[in-house]
């Protein structure tokens, strides 16, 4: 059964409405009454007695048309079918008035910049105090009976470390390949092809392995931590942890940090090995350098301090990634959108801080001549 659509017919001093005035149809006549210019002071008859079906949206449209005409000084007589009177009464008694849509206050450029800066500053402050809170909790855990949640730590070692191994290994292998390839193109013409070993060895062991590993782990695990803890925050699990007297930092954050502290140096070492192996493959193909010769050169030219510096950066990065991921997770508000936003922020912020920390280590190591 298809009812006829809504219609408005204008006759002398009367607006005759017919058809079905329902929410799915009335867009056709929505703007029509506005275009009609009734003489000021005239009496208008709004005749809806031919309307076959009316819902609240249709009744509202009639009501606002009538009110609009009255406001501008016309007298309105509304005629309705008796069965539609009830619905019109609901609409009129609701107390809702039609009016111009409220304008949204749009932030100006300057206030937007100020607001962003304030938010960033507060964020940084929050992160710093979070590190402090973490330190206090860890210290307390050391003075009291040390409760290490081995099960959880091992589980995180499995997911953040073991399962990340293929990705980290493959990526660093190819970085080794690319570096060696570029290096051999650079050094071969001057007959110094053997320097490829120095280049790749130094770059991978000192800088790239820790950095690449940290970026992979930040993307895989930092985001996962933020999302996991964020979802727990939303469902009230964090509050129930607090309610049973457990600190979320002790139960959720410290095991994750401990796991990454274990995992990141190991992954870095794996990345070192695979990066050098990638370079070795290229050196054999491009420079006809045997693997014994290549590895001998690496062993002679790279100091132990270079290698150790690279590996020692990994725990620093681990703390940054895990702490930022967990912190952002704990900042999640009650809406689904904030989980997504906080997860993104966790990854971006931890990568940024990792690179900043890397630069800091570089400056310090220069000062001490390492």
């Amino acid at each position: 059964m298809v009812l006829p659509g809504p219609r408005i017919r204008v006759e002398s001093g009367a607006m005759r409405c017919s058809g079905s005035w329902t929410v799915d149809r009335i867009e056709r006549v929505e703007r029509l009454p506005l275009g009609l210019a009734w003489r000021v002071g005239s009496a208008v008859v709004l005749d809806a007695s031919a309307v076959v079906a009316m819902d609240m949206a249709g009744a509202w449209l009639l009501h606002r048309t009538a009110r609009g005409l009255e406001r501008s000084g016309r007298t309105v007589t509304l005629r309705l079918r008796p069965e539609h009177e009830a619905i019109l009464r609901i609409v009129t008694s609701s107390g809702v008035v039609a009016g111009p849509p409220r304008a949204r206050d749009r932030p100006r450029v300057l206030s937007a910049v100020g607001r962003r800066a304030w938010i960033s500053a507060r964020e940084l402050g929050g992160l710093v105090s979070f590190f402090g809170e973490m330190g206090v909790t860890a210290a307390r855990a050391r003075t009291g009976p040390l409760r290490v949640r081995w099960r959880q730590v091992l589980q995180h070692v499995q997911t953040a470390g073991f399962e990340a191994l293929p990705t980290a290994a493959l990526l660093s292998f190819f970085i080794g390949v690319v570096l060696a390839y570029q290096g051999s193109a650079l050094f071969r013409p001057s007959g110094a092809g053997i320097l490829v070993a120095d280049l790749v060895g130094l770059a991978m062991l000192r800088e790239l392995s820790p950095l690449v590993t940290a970026i992979i782990v930040a993307g895989r695990s930092g985001s996962a931590y933020a999302a996991q803890i964020g979802a727990m925050k939303m469902t009230g699990e964090i509050d129930s942890l607090r309610a049973v007297g457990l600190s979320p930092i002790e139960v959720l954050v410290l095991p994750r940090i401990a796991a990454l502290l274990v995992v990141l140096p190991l992954l870095t070492v794996a990345a070192d090995v695979l990066g050098v192996a990638g370079a070795m493959v290229v050196a054999r193909a491009e420079l006809a350098m045997g693997s014994g010769e290549f590895l001998g050169r690496v062993a002679r030219e790279i100091r132990a301090s270079d290698y150790l510096l690279g590996v020692c950066k990994a725990p620093v990065f681990a703390v940054i990634i895990a702490a930022v991921g967990c912190y952002q997770g704990l900042q999640v508000a009650d809406d689904a959108e904030s989980v997504g936003r906080r997860t993104t922020v966790a990854v971006v912020q931890s990568m940024f801080l990792v690179v900043v920390a890397d630069g800091f280590v570089l400056v310090v190591s220069r000062l001490f001549g390492i």
Partner: protein, 261 residues
């Protein structure tokens, strides 16, 4: 569409011999029930008996193994996606958790179905949303608030406002009073009654709330062990001798409808 006999009330939902198994467990073993137009129908029963599942089946969100379900004159078992969408547009649903979109304000939540399912202009849409918000008894100040800023009872009202945004003929409520304090539950119950009388809305409510069963429901069906074990008015159901019903309503023999001889 409408029945030709005016004296017999039109059946809006007709469930016939529905069987459903989920993961090997038999949930429905031949459920049959009728919901009449303009009435409040309550489906009661112990938790896990498949009340919500039946509601989902009526909305074509779950397909039963066998049997037929007709909603608003249309067979929903084996319904096409397009038709299902059209049918759901004529129904309003409030799920157990309310499920308001947390990133939208209350007014935006209510206006969302209007924006997606009608071609109305923005001003009219906002006004109709304000109308529905007023209708469910929320103050106008609730409109620009986010769901997380509202109390549980207000959130339930906002979800109801969204469900009636498109003037549905049929309203599905899943445990509307769960998690509300008795006073808010009572208010919500009155609101449902009020909307039912005001708009002639047919209401299908899944509930375990005795207040709602006694005071709001016109018809009650009790689902247990996969079948409707008792049906009728609440007074009739509470007088049933079925052990399942007895276990569920202990002491209601002397309930508001009077004691059994």
């Amino acid at each position: 569409m409408a029945t030709s006999v005016p004296s017999a009330p039109e059946i809006v939902i007709a469930v016939r011999d529905v069987h459903t198994t989920v993961g090997g467990d038999v949930i429905h073993a031949g459920v049959t029930l009728d919901v009449y137009r303009g009435r409040i129908f309550a489906l009661a029963g112990p938790s896990g008996c498949g009340k919500t599942l039946l509601l989902r089946e009526a909305l074509a969100l779950h397909v039963p193994d066998s049997g037929s379900i007709r909603v608003l004159g249309r067979d929903v078992v084996g319904i096409g996606d397009e038709e299902a969408l059209e049918l759901r547009q004529r129904c309003g649903v409030v799920f157990e958790r309310g499920a308001l979109f947390s990133s939208l304000t209350v007014a935006e939540n209510v206006a969302l179905p209007l924006r997606e399912r009608s071609r109305l202009g923005r001003t009219l849409r906002d006004e109709i949303a304000a109308l529905k918000i007023a209708l469910v008894g929320l103050p106008p100040s609730a409109g620009p608030k986010y769901p997380s800023q509202l109390s549980g009872g207000m959130r339930r009202r906002a979800a109801l406002a969204r469900a009636i945004a498109l003037d549905p003929e049929l309203l599905f409520l899943d445990e509307p009073s769960a998690g509300l304090d008795p006073a808010s539950g009572k208010e919500f119950e009155e609101l449902v009654r009020h909307l039912n009388e005001l708009l002639g809305l047919t209401v299908f409510v899944v509930t375990r709330d005795l207040g709602l069963l006694w005071n709001a429901a016109d018809h009650v069906a009790f689902l247990g062990e996969g079948r409707i074990v008792a049906a009728g008015t609440m007074a009739e159901v509470s007088r049933s001798d079925e052990p399942l019903v007895r276990a569920y309503f202990p002491g209601t023999r002397s309930g508001p409808a009077g004691a059994r001889p």
